[in-house]
């Protein structure tokens, strides 16, 4: 039996790699996506263009503004002389924020009064706006502390020591790149498996297979095995890229990671083969894969936290295998998780995988004709 499955697997690989189109699908989109996602998909802000409307001539305002000039996050893009210029700067997207310091800024500070710093932010992209306000706030807080210290003002009653675990500089890339391992492994495995039976149906080779002494189970396994090998290969490649190229720390145990990958592939291949046994043409297979992929990715927590979704949708995400795998891969990469901590992710993936494969097997037998 194994000899025949190996022959099937070999054939599957030859067919996949010799066909220009399939080779393209397996190699080009993942690479392009890896690079684009890793470099472009970041919530970190750099070089935020801003303008200053400074009515104050004193030294304190210059001290505060020097902190903005010195930050890599901000880039001065213009000055403002009149309040009336502000709207056009913001509206036309020339700057994303304007800092407004009133005429008595230094004087108020020296007199021990509160000196207002007005911040006008373009809220069209609410996420950038929120992040940006955070950056400004931390600059202002730092300034306040050092001002209080140097001018003998009462310091705050308690000190806040902020530390972020696992990702001390809060780099988006550390979050996104491990996520891509899950994303691309899913995409490639799904496309390869969901097209495999349809391709054979279109080419007429499926009938030719069915009249050989091969059993349906062997044919099915002959489709599962290549999916595993390709998924593992693709996943390993991106893991390697993440560590060596993007320098994301890999803190946990590789076996724990690969155990997760294995279980995840089970469910991905199950879905792919289900689509495959229903789809008559490759076109339908592709459409089916696309229809599964978009919600699976959006609801997995790949880019936005599941916790922010409405309760109903949060329940829905429990069915999404990518959700669990992302927790595993990010856990192993950044948190250094080991097997023990990951059980709550392993078993749902195993369950989903078994159900999917069983369903795929059932469909496979009943849709042979």
């Amino acid at each position: 039996m194994w000899r025949r499955i190996i022959a099937l697997t070999k054939k599957e690989f030859l067919a996949l790699l010799k066909d220009k189109r399939s080779r393209f699908v397996v190699i080009v989109p993942p690479l392009v996506q890896l690079l684009i996602f890793s470099y472009a998909a970041t919530f970190d802000l750099n070089r935020i263009p801003y303008a200053v409307y400074n009515e104050d001539a004193g030294f304190a305002s210059r001290q505060l503004l020097a902190r903005f000039v010195g930050s890599a996050n901000f880039e001065l893009a213009g000055g403002v002389d009149r309040e009336g210029q502000i709207p056009s700067l913001i509206d036309s997207k020339k700057v994303m924020m304007v800092l407004h310091l009133g005429p008595h800024f230094t004087r108020d500070l020296l007199l021990g009064r509160s000196a207002p710093l007005q911040l006008i932010v373009d809220g069209r992209n609410s996420n950038t706006a929120a992040v940006l306000v955070g950056y400004v706030r931390s600059i202002v807080t730092d300034f306040n502390e050092s001002w209080a210290e140097t001018h003998g003002l009462p310091i705050s009653p308690a000190r806040l020591e902020m530390r972020s675990w696992f990702n001390p500089n809060l780099e988006s890339r550390w979050f996104i790149v491990p996520g891509i391992v899950g994303l691309l492994t899913l995409v490639v495995t799904l496309i390869v498996t969901s097209l495999s039976v349809a391709r054979e149906r279109e080419g007429g080779t499926f009938d030719q297979l069915l009249v050989t002494p091969l059993r349906p189970l062997e044919i099915l396994l002959g489709k599962v095995l290549p999916g595993f090998i390709i998924g593992t290969g693709e996943g390993s490649f991106i893991i390697l890229m993440a560590v060596l190229w993007f320098h994301v720390p890999l803190r946990g145990s590789l076996p724990a990671l690969y155990a997760g990958l294995f279980l995840f592939l089970l469910s991905a291949i199950g879905v792919g083969l289900m689509i495959s046994s229903i789809a008559v043409t490759q076109q339908q297979g592709l459409l089916g894969a696309f229809l599964f992929l978009v919600p699976a990715v959006v609801l997995s927590g790949f880019a936005t936290p599941i916790a922010n979704m409405p309760a109903f949708i949060q329940h829905l995400t429990l069915l999404d295998p990518l959700r669990y795998f992302l927790l595993v891969i990010r856990g192993v990469f950044l948190q250094g998780d080991s097997f023990g901590l990951l059980w709550p992710q392993y078993w749902p993936m195993a369950l989903i995988g078994l159900v999917n494969l069983a369903a795929a097997g059932w469909l496979f037998r009943h849709r042979l004709y």
């Binding site: 929120a130 675990w165 916790a307």
Partner: protein
């Protein structure tokens, strides 16, 4: 000898009628035009949100006192946090590690004593930084909470405390910072890309696959007629999809439409022409549906998603990628969409971006005209 007029109305009408009947009869075209926007808008409108609320947070008070209670009460009142009380740091750390809480606020055993003695106690704050964006948002919330607490504490002591520099923030266009308000307009750009580029690329590739293109080409039909016969029906279909999406955005998701609908429609028409041009151009290269679909997804859909500024800020991308975004039509359309929806008819944004769309649309359509010939 002359070839006669480049466009003959009867032939054009015939081609357009055929295309219209095919659209109406083929559920997948209508599906891409109406079901896909619906599904995408629902998934993104409800599923994607960057607004963290009710973040589970461990508040560790090693020795509960009125002071720690006052501190923790702030979290309980906030809609941003769902605090959980711990009396020791170890279980809280474990909870953070297991993902049960997103952050820890640690009030050590000597917190009240030091506070009352006028010393400065340290408050430990640990945030799970795996999701950097969420981590940063939580840090921001915490800082705000802490500022409030300082103010209240000072007030209760009868010595109003003020910060040297008081930050007054004014967020224009979206004061509530609702992420849906910027995601939904951007999503319309993605949907229009799918509609314009993917659908036409697939439809033309289908004609090649089924051999009907060959039959068309040997009739006396002219190239502009073939192209217009495809452009006009799918343009109308796309505008239908657009109106549907805008209606959903305004009525279902309550996104404000501050600019004029006509301006929105005009910009969308420009973008749609560009997208149709890209779709037709792809189909001159890829003559089967599989390849056409793949190419369309890679060169139109993905960039519209990631490189258009729809979610991710273009200014923050590495310079080479920023340069790349200039050749992505969706970039200009997203800028117009977000502005017209949230800010209004801001001509300094609409005009340059609209001009860029016009240039790109003209470029793609010219390319299509030049690359299409009546030869195989």
């Amino acid at each position: 000898m002359k070839d006669g007029p480049p466009i003959q109305l009867m032939r054009l009408k015939g081609l357009m009628r055929k295309e219209a009947v095919q659209i109406l009869r083929d559920p997948s075209s209508l599906g891409i035009a109406f079901i896909l926007p619906l599904v995408l808008l629902l998934i993104f409108g409800y599923g994607v949100s960057l607004d963290a609320e009710h973040v589970p947070l461990a508040v560790v008070a090693e020795q509960p006192t009125p002071q720690t209670a006052a501190f923790a009460a702030g979290f309980a009142r906030s809609r941003y946090f769902a605090p959980r009380a711990y009396s020791e740091i170890e279980p809280a750390e474990k909870a953070l590690r297991h993902g049960e809480v997103e952050g820890i606020v640690w009030l050590r055993g000597d917190f009240s004593r030091k506070l009352l003695a006028g010393e400065v106690p340290d408050i430990g704050v640990f945030v799970n930084g795996v999701d950097a964006n969420t981590g940063r948002i939580i840090e921001g919330y915490l800082q705000g909470m802490w500022n409030n607490w300082q103010g209240q504490l000072a007030a209760s002591r009868g010595r109003p405390y003020h910060f040297p520099v008081e930050l007054e923030q004014r967020v224009w266009f979206n004061p509530g910072l609702r992420s849906r308000d910027f995601l939904v307009p951007g999503l319309i750009a993605v949907i229009m890309t799918l509609l314009g580029a993917l659908l036409t690329a697939l439809v033309v590739a289908r004609e090649w696959e089924r051999g009907t293109m060959e039959a068309l080409l040997v009739t006396p039909v002219r190239v502009p007629e073939i192209l217009l016969g495809k452009l006009v029906p799918y343009f109308l279909l796309g505008m239908g999809g657009l109106l549907f999406s805008v209606a959903m955005a305004v009525w279902l998701f309550a996104v404000p439409l501050r600019g004029s609908l006509w301006l929105l429609l005009a910009a969308s028409a420009l973008f749609l022409l560009t997208a149709l041009g890209m779709g037709l151009l792809i189909s001159t290269v890829a003559r089967n549906q599989f390849v056409a679909g793949q190419v369309a997804i890679i060169v139109t859909f993905l960039p519209a998603f990631i490189l258009s500024g729809f979610i991710f800020d273009i200014n923050s991308m590495p310079v080479p990628i920023q340069l790349l975004t200039h050749i992505i039509p969706a970039r200009y359309y997203v800028a117009i969409l977000q502005t017209v929806f949230l800010a209004g008819n801001i001509w300094p944004v609409v005009l340059p971006n609209g001009l860029a769309l016009l240039v790109m649309g003209a470029f793609f359509l010219t390319m299509v005209r030049r690359r299409t010939s009546k030869r195989l």
